[in-house]
Amino acid sequence: MSIVNDKTSAVLDKALSLRFKRQQLLAANIANADTPNYRPVDLAFEGALKDAIGKDGADPNPPGFERTDSMHMSGWMPEPTEAAEVVVRNDVTNSLDNNGVDLDKEMAHIVENSTSYQTVLEVSRRRFNILTELITTMSQG
């Protein structure tokens, strides 16, 4: 663990790679929107994250963080090792050829996912800017 290689970076990295992976799965769904018997696939990592949040009912705050008000955000951070499973979505069958892809839903997923990706990317970018700022200030003495 160092200033550039800490838990925050690990979480951001993981989030980026999972979002990217999901985008590729969604691209595969869209490409196969007219393939008979194709079932859409997705990543179940949002569910996994939620599970992780609710796991221990105890104070999820990491050491060093203290909430002085119940309305404050928790300092909880998911473990970056949280696995995301590829799942087959079996909920919809709206066509005669047993294809489960709903193009509108997939497009909505694509927009939602890429927006999330860019949000995480922006956070990473600002983090790097802070670090760069810190390094230049330090080197100027």
Partner: protein
């Protein structure tokens, strides 16, 4: 990293191939003479999923269990162009050069309205793939810009 782009572009090619078949159907909506004899029969592109690059070999040798994620990145291709052998409408037109001895002519089994609907569906699917390609490309470009 570029797997998703390949999948999206594969989807675009497949939809384009489907559009070609539809154009052929519309162009031949009243063709009564073909090299096989008889009227033109409408054709349809049949899609199937493709395995990711290099996976055909791996599948043959037994798939490693942790590979479910890669296996699910399936592209699409046109597996065949199938002929629809439903008989076309028969009209009575003794003056037609392809009329039989009773003066009946079998027309192609192409319904232009159905073809137009199919054409719109294909071009929408093409656009969806193009959009998915562009979104992925934007994501990659933004990631490249992170250090600036």
């Amino acid at each position: 990293m570029f797997k998703g782009l390949n999948i999206a572009s594969g989807g675009m090619s497949a939809q384009r191939a489907r559009l070609h078949v539809i154009s052929s159907n519309i162009a031949n909506a009243s063709t009564t003479r073909t090299e096989d004899g008889g009227p033109y029969k409408r054709q349809e592109a049949v899609f199937r999923t493709t395995l990711p690059e290099g996976w055909a070999e791996k599948v043959k040798n037994g798939v490693p269990t942790n590979a479910a994620a890669d296996m699910s990145l399936r592209g699409v291709e046109v597996s065949e162009v199938q002929k629809d052998n439903v008989p076309g409408p028969i009209i009575f037109d003794p003056g037609h050069p392809d009329a039989d001895e009773n003066g009946n002519v079998e027309l192609p089994n192409v319904n232009p309205v159905e073809e137009m609907v199919d054409m719109i569906a294909a071009s929408r699917s093409f656009e969806a793939n193009a959009q998915s390609f562009q979104t992925l490309r934007d994501m990659i470009t933004r990631a490249m810009d992170i250090g600036r």
